[in-house]
């Protein structure tokens, strides 16, 4: 039987899990090494590489802008995405499918192409500064998550509840904020978290839209790796893993364990 005691399934499962975890474990170990280049196993123990992160201005400023852009892009995506979803699911909009396809269309364009096209249009043609261009790029990345997640929870919400409120004299905006919004809260939080994580981790879009004056953390690491092979990146990776872990705990607190595993599929 192919149950949990099946030898073959068990062996493959354990090996795959080990292969998923071990590489990250090796990175953690190398971050404590005393040698000037990354080595494994390590010869001595030091925390110096963690201190070294803060001496790299690209990492510090990159973290700040990645954080700001991710927060702003996620918020903006919600601000323009939720009203659009509301209109599409509650009003009788002609050509509804077209709008849905349009809003999800950024997922069909490879991210590297979005970055390149935005660089050409915003930075070269329109001479827009890098910072707003980055924000726009990350907004395009985030919007489809909002549309997808919020649409499915709007479709699950019984429209009669809202209609009951109107009949009782509540204005449409008031009904939206007091009845609809609390009911789709989970999908909004989930969309925000997914947007934030994907924007924070994004490389292909940021790659074209950053420069010496405007760093993003992932691309700063990429640049650093071109010329250096020391455990600073290992140390920074450990901090980023802790950051991921913190976000997962936050997601679990806000949405519950079940939500944590189902949102993973959409990532």
């Amino acid at each position: 039987m192919l149950d949990r005691h099946n030898r073959v399934l068990q062996i493959i499962g354990v090996i795959v899990l080990a292969l998923l975890i071990l590489p990250l474990g090796i990175v953690v170990v190398t971050s404590f090494g005393t040698e000037a280049t990354i080595s494994f196993p390590i010869k001595g123990f030091t925390l110096a590489w963690y201190a070294n992160i803060w001496t790299q201005p690209a990492f510090v400023s990159g973290f700040q802008s990645s954080l700001t852009i991710a927060l702003l892009a996620s918020l903006l995506a919600l601000l323009i995405g939720v009203p659009a979803v509301y209109a599409l699911t509650r009003f009788n909009i002609p050509k509804q499918g077209w709008f849905q396809t349009l809003f999800l269309s950024p997922t069909l364009i490879p991210e590297i192409v979005i970055g390149f096209a935005l660089y050409q249009t915003l930075v070269i043609s329109w001479r827009l500064p890098l910072w707003p261009s980055l924000l726009i790029g990350h907004l395009l990345l985030c919007l489809p998550y909002v549309i997808r997640l919020v649409t499915s929870s709007m479709l699950h919400l019984d429209p009669h509840i809202e209609e009951a409120a109107w009949t009782l004299g509540t204005s449409r905006p008031h009904a939206f904020f007091t009845i609809v919004l609390p009911n789709i809260r989970t999908s909004i939080v989930a969309a925000f978290m997914l947007c934030f994580i994907n924007s924070f981790n994004n490389i292909p879009i940021s790659l074209f839209l950053n420069g010496p004056s405007q760093n993003m953390l992932p691309t700063a690491i990429l640049n650093y790796l071109q010329n250096n092979y020391d455990p600073t990146v290992s140390a920074l990776s450990v901090l980023l893993m802790l950051f991921t872990a913190a976000l997962m705990i936050l997601m679990e607190r806000l949405l519950g364990v079940g939500a944590l595993t189902t949102t993973g599929t959409n990532a």
């Binding site: 909009i93 790796l225 364990v257 990532a267």
Partner: protein
């Protein structure tokens, strides 16, 4: 509610996509048909170059192998996870989810440490006296495949676990009682039920592996370009914007073509499942 008001809520998102996604796409697409001798001149030039064809072939091969390996490793793992107790299943799901949410640079960097000339794997093999000189593992096509599998396997597993959780074990028990061996159960009962999920996973992995930038950049190096790294190299290192645009359009075209085929096949499967 007046008609104008209804559309009012749609305006910001619609304008945003039109102005910032579709217009820029048009702006890079138009020069690719106007700068050549005829509209398809640049494309036929690109598709006739041996080097560029090699890049396209490498991109597709890496995406196909990555997809196949993630299915082969992901399916048994997903079945194994779905057959655990609820508590264990949650722990395992979190372990699978963690890499998905971890930055791709970090995940690829791990493989630089493992596959490098003085890396973990070479040291291990030399320590065991299996090889005498370090192997060239990093900056090869295989390194890109390994990195891509590592990147996308968790996504395949989560997609398959959802579907495997929905399987009814009693059907498998019935088959076992009637004398089916595990492999027959897998082929005749599990695979047909999980086929739509396998295709969904394949779509996600293929699209991701085909267009990924970080993995081929970090693990492939400059001599093993795929289409995404070629776009960046042409645009930013060489300044050939029109060439970069041609590659970008071909990449979009190819990925839409493959995804369209996979979706069409998923649709056919879904219909077959409904009819059954």
């Amino acid at each position: 509610m007046s008609k104008a008001n209804r559309f009012f809520l749609l305006i910001p998102a619609t304008l945003g996509i039109l102005v910032f996604a579709l217009f820029p796409l048009l702006q890079i697409a138009i020069p690719t048909v106007t700068s050549g001798a005829n509209p398809i001149a640049l494309y036929s030039q690109f598709l006739q170059s041996h080097y560029d064809l090699q890049v396209i072939f490498r991109t597709l091969t890496i995406a196909v192998i990555t997809t196949l390996v993630t299915v082969l490793l992901g399916l048994p793992t997903a079945l194994w996870i779905s057959r655990q107790t609820t508590a264990w299943r949650q722990v395992l799901s979190v372990i699978i989810l963690f890499p998905i949410l971890t930055n791709a640079v970090v995940r690829n960097f791990a493989w630089i440490i493992i596959l490098g000339k003085n890396g973990v794997l070479n040291n291990l093999l030399q320590g065991l006296h299996l090889i005498s000189a370090p192997l060239t593992l990093l900056y090869t096509d295989s390194a890109i495949v390994i990195g891509s599998v590592y990147l996308f396997l968790p996504i395949m597993i989560t997609t398959l676990v959802d579907s495997a959780n929905g399987l009814n074990p009693e059907i498998e028990e019935a088959a076992a009682v009637l004398g089916s061996r595990p492999f027959t159960v897998l082929r005749e009962i599990i695979l047909p039920q999980m086929a739509p999920a396998i295709l969904t996973g394949a779509i996600l992995v293929f699209a991701g592996a085909m267009t990924a930038y970080t993995t081929p950049q970090l693990l492939g190096g400059n001599r093993h370009l795929v289409m995404s790294t070629l776009i960046y190299q042409q645009a930013m290192t060489l300044g050939n914007w029109t060439t970069a645009s041609v590659v970008a359009i071909v990449l979009i075209g190819l990925s839409l073509l493959v995804l369209g085929l996979l979706r069409w096949y998923t649709g056919r499967l879904d219909r077959r499942v409904q009819h059954a």
